[in-house]
């Protein structure tokens, strides 16, 4: 019982402190620019490009796809920076010197970004409603909320995996940026999955967001939770898989860093 309480405390303190540390150097105005206005500009750009290509009837396809994709801003950039921050700020040796439960410590880095990411998606959908005429009247809102939660969780799972890369490479932002833009292509946010060649479809099925975006489109069109149950289950499992692979990498990095004496290497 004591062990559980300790682990929960490690999880919660890690969650709060890593988020505060991340936004210590980011001012509210930066948050506003990165998390409110940038999503609007990105949704507008890809929606206008999409409607220019295929006509105004498809506006909602692009708005929903790109609004859900905003989950990757927190899920990938936020989570990666929370994990990588320990390396850059020199706190990694202390972290690995503690007996704290590694899973609680690792997953704690992503928790608030899941909530923050959900807020980002909601802001994206509201922008879509206000600026691009997205119709949410048919949507089952609790089902949509669950879809956003599951999708943000799975994207943060990918972020945790990318965060581990930030512990062993100096160019993680290059990888992050590439993955972020690749998601715009492979997740079905802007290109219908049916038009992808088989190898791209295989990649898209292995990524977070793909099933979440498909589920969100169906829910906003009027489908119920039961209709998208399998998509959400798949999205959740993909997220769990990324968390587990990320965790294994985290432990492997800890082992290698201790063995080689490279904990402080930046």
């Amino acid at each position: 019982m004591n062990s559980l309480v300790t682990n929960l405390r490690v999880f919660w303190q890690g969650t709060i402190l890593s988020y505060i540390a991340l936004f210590h150097w980011l001012e509210p105005v930066t948050y506003l620019a990165s998390k409110v206005l940038m999503p609007l500009a990105q949704i507008l750009f890809f929606t206008l490009l999409g409607t220019f290509a295929t006509g105004r009837d498809t506006t909602s396809f692009y708005v929903i796809g790109n609004a859900i994709q905003i989950a990757a801003v927190s899920g990938i950039y936020g989570v990666t920076m929370s994990i990588g921050g320990d390396r850059w700020n020199g706190t990694l040796p202390y972290l690995f010197g503690t007996p704290a439960n590694r899973m609680a410590l690792f997953v704690g880095r992503a928790f608030i970004h899941v909530i923050d990411g959900m807020l980002g998606v909601v802001i994206g959908l509201l922008w879509g409603t206000a600026v691009l005429g997205l119709d949410l009247s048919q949507a089952n809102l609790p089902a949509l909320a669950l879809t956003i939660l599951v999708t943000t969780f799975s994207t943060s799972g990918l972020g945790l995996l990318m965060g581990c890369l930030s512990l062993i490479t100096l160019n993680v932002m290059f990888v992050n940026n590439t993955v972020y833009f690749a998601l715009l292509i492979f997740s079905g946010a802007n290109i219908p999955l049916a038009s992808l060649p088989s190898w791209m479809l295989a990649v898209s099925q292995a990524l977070p967001l793909t099933r979440g975006i498909a589920a969100a489109r169906q829910i906003i069109a009027g489908a119920g939770l039961a209709d998208v149950g399998s998509l959400l289950a798949g999205e959740f499992l993909i997220g769990c898989l990324y968390v587990l692979v990320g965790y294994r990498m985290f432990r492997w990095f800890e082992y290698q860093a201790k063995r080689k004496g490279t904990l402080e290497t930046v």
Binding site: A33, L48, F52, F174, I191
Partner: protein, 265 residues
């Protein structure tokens, strides 16, 4: 900054440009900005606009290349003074007889020229992966448009860099300024899709006139008179921005010396 200063310092400009290229050629962030991101945007746009044929493909090649130009200008040229500050070399640069504006001009020249790779990469993508046989419709006019685009972007960069130094709060908006210029400049779709109130904003952006000239000459969609007008607008904005930048650089240096903040943000 005036044209005479540029003429007198052309050797310094070229040396700075060469040094900058050597320093940044393998920089991961710049590689992403001028190579990977335009490539992914081109891939996406070619897929989305694929049904519209080779003319749309040329539109995408030029437009996605311009996204690389703007992103590089915003993130790399915009920080060209701050980078020296972070490296601890700004005081030395300010102390040398060559004016800081001339040095930043050279750095911007390197960045903008390097960004043209975006267009080449997009062209190769369209030709090799999508099998388009693309030809520039008016090659001479296109080359002149490209040259004027480089000058216009460099001049625009000379405004952004001192503004970011003098107003760190403006820099917080850097991430949010990338896509709006893609949209307002009509890089990948016509600005006619936007509401009418936004058109004057497009007119104030040199990238908009550059996009009109490059799209018009590459696809043959613009007549000579229209192209001449676009060139005139780019030249006009370049001169205006060069003049304003001279004032901004003077103000920035005076302020930094008075506040003793040359080496700190």
């Amino acid at each position: 900054m005036n044209l005479l200063a540029l003429q007198r310092n052309w050797r310094a400009i070229l040396v700075v440009a060469e040094m900058t290229l050597r320093q940044t050629v393998m920089d991961a962030f710049i590689l992403f900005t001028v190579l990977v991101q335009p490539l992914l945007i081109a891939l996406l746009a070619l897929w989305m606009l694929g049904g519209r044929g080779p003319e749309a493909a040329m539109f995408v090649v030029v437009g996605s290349g311009m996204t690389g130009l703007w992103s590089s200008l915003l993130f790399v040229s915009g920080n060209s003074i701050n980078v020296e500050r972070w490296s601890g070399t700004l005081e030395t640069l300010v102390g040398v007889p060559t004016s800081l504006a001339v040095i930043v001009f050279g750095k911007n020249l390197a960045n903008v020229t390097q960004s043209l790779i975006s267009m080449v990469v997009s062209y190769l993508l369209a030709a090799l992966l999508f099998g388009y046989s693309l030809q520039v419709d008016q090659p001479v006019q296109f080359a002149i448009s490209l040259l004027l685009t480089i000058v216009a972007f460099i001049s625009f960069g000379l405004i952004i860099a001192p503004l970011f130094v003098m107003n760190p709060s403006v820099q917080h908006w850097q991430n949010a300024m990338e896509f709006p210029v893609y949209i307002l400049s009509g890089f990948l779709f016509p600005v006619a899709l936007l509401p009418g109130w936004s058109t004057p904003l497009s007119y104030l952006l040199p990238p908009y006139w550059a996009a009109r000239a490059l799209h018009g000459t590459s696809t043959g969609g613009s007549g000579l008179n229209e192209v001449l007008f676009y060139w005139g607008m780019m030249a006009l904005f370049s001169v205006i921005y060069l003049l304003i930048s001279g004032h901004l650089f003077r103000r920035m240096l005076v302020k930094a010396r008075v506040d003793a903040t040359l080496d700190m943000e």
